[in-house]
Amino acid sequence: SLTRRFSDIWGRLRNRKITAGNVQETLRDIRVALLEADVALPVVKDFLVKVEQKALGEEVLKGVNPGQQFVETVYRELAELMGPVDSRIPAVKPGPTIILMAGLQGSGKTTTCAKLALLLKKQGRRPLLVAADIQRPAAIDQLKILGAQIGAPVFSEADIKPPQICQHAIRHARENDLDPVILDTAGRLHIDEEMMREVKEVAHLAQPHEIFLVVDAMVGQDAVRSARDFNEQLELTGVILTKLDGDARGGAALSVKSITGKPIKFAGVGEKVEGGLEEFRPEGMAQRILG
């Protein structure tokens, strides 16, 4: 693990001060660890610069192993970069609060919509799920089944396009005092102009208060490209990282936060809707990324 490696290197150092020279070797180890963890290369570079500045600016505390102190600095810097977290979804007045889920194919949007609805139900809200993915075979069925599992209504309407489905759903929510409205959309490539135009139109008509980018924790270097493009096209308000119950190191968390500046609010931690969504914890994520 990185901690043990650091202790070995620093154990050999007798200096009281962390110097530019002895920091270099450790930075190389951190670089490898971060790249192994799928943190995007440009993000790794920026991070190493930040950490080097922090480390060189610190006086080694008395009685503390300089290696240990350096590791603490790295963890802290990583956790701080991925935080802070505010996962509250305030009820907007006048309602309803509108939440849009967007992201690449298969990232976990539909399941996450249901998970979020369940979370909000438990907080006393009355969420409405909206089946605005009309192209994936049985996507509407999927959301309806999940909605039935958690006792949340699902809005769908045939023969119209996603932007209009969302408009009608919001009207339906208003008329039936349902809040928030969670809009499930089709998976799409950030380089698919037509599909990006469609989701922008959904956002334009629905005027969401929250726009979440749903990202698979296993995603590699491509995380920065897709996140940057989605962020440029949509006013993202947050990110949800899914499939964290696997063993992917999840460097995408740092990549996405760095490139978009948008907070990661929730973590998908299971296939089941019940218990499958937690508030995102930067400290836990920092440990995981550094291995």
């Binding site: 799928d38 690449l104 069925d141 590699g220 491509d222």
Partner: protein, 281 residues
Amino acid sequence: FGLREKLDENTLARIEEELFVADFGPKMVEQLIEGEAGLRAAWKRGEIEQQDQVLEFLKSRLKAMLSHKDLSLREAPQPPTIYLIAGVNGTGKTTSIAKLAHRLLEEGNKVLLAAADTFRAAAVEQLTIWSQRLGIGIVTGEANSDPASVAFKGVERARQEGIDCLIVDTAGRLHTDKNLMRELKKIREVLARKVPGAPQESLLVLDGTNGQNAIQQAEVFKREIDVSGIILTKLDGTAKGGVVFAIHERLEIPVKLVGIGEQLPDLIPFDPGQFVDALFE
């Protein structure tokens, strides 16, 4: 890369970056640049001197790494040929099955699908819609029933109807979930016991946007169901799929098919030459 300019440290650094961004991972990058058969060694030996030679040298090395005896899909000596499809959640298994069925139909085969994902919401409905679009049969089971029993029924019906190829869909599962991996292993055993030599292919569907975790996935799935090939999906995006080199080298699993979109025609045979060229585009 300057055609006549001399190779220098900066060139190596730029290539290194490109390899990282393509998801090669630090170990593989180290090997390709600093290893015995790497770029730096070739440079020292005088094998490559100009910048334009570097890319050609690297590409030929990469193409050689992907050379594999057989990239075609195995067929059974007599029908039905059985393909088992597995992988982590959301990688594109169900859609890839529809595309594969489409290819096999175009080649004149009679194809049958088995919807052995009995767990996920609307998984059976999803594959059923594809089977209707393809005009082929599908075997299904009760929700939450034993997926192995659906696979079993699939084989029986394939035999009854003189089917050339049976494709078995399974639920997405994390390789870290011991119970689910055991369930998958059981599905494979049921197929093997029912039809000697089956499944002719155990195909792991990997999401092309995955990073280094794809290697762990391949390792565990190989151990549990002896993966015979990979379907690498979503290469129509911007991800390059560089992890396949580590998978190929360490586990000797070949990529056989590539997904390049969400519709039936969007599945192509893996072409190592094209794949390597695309890495640097």
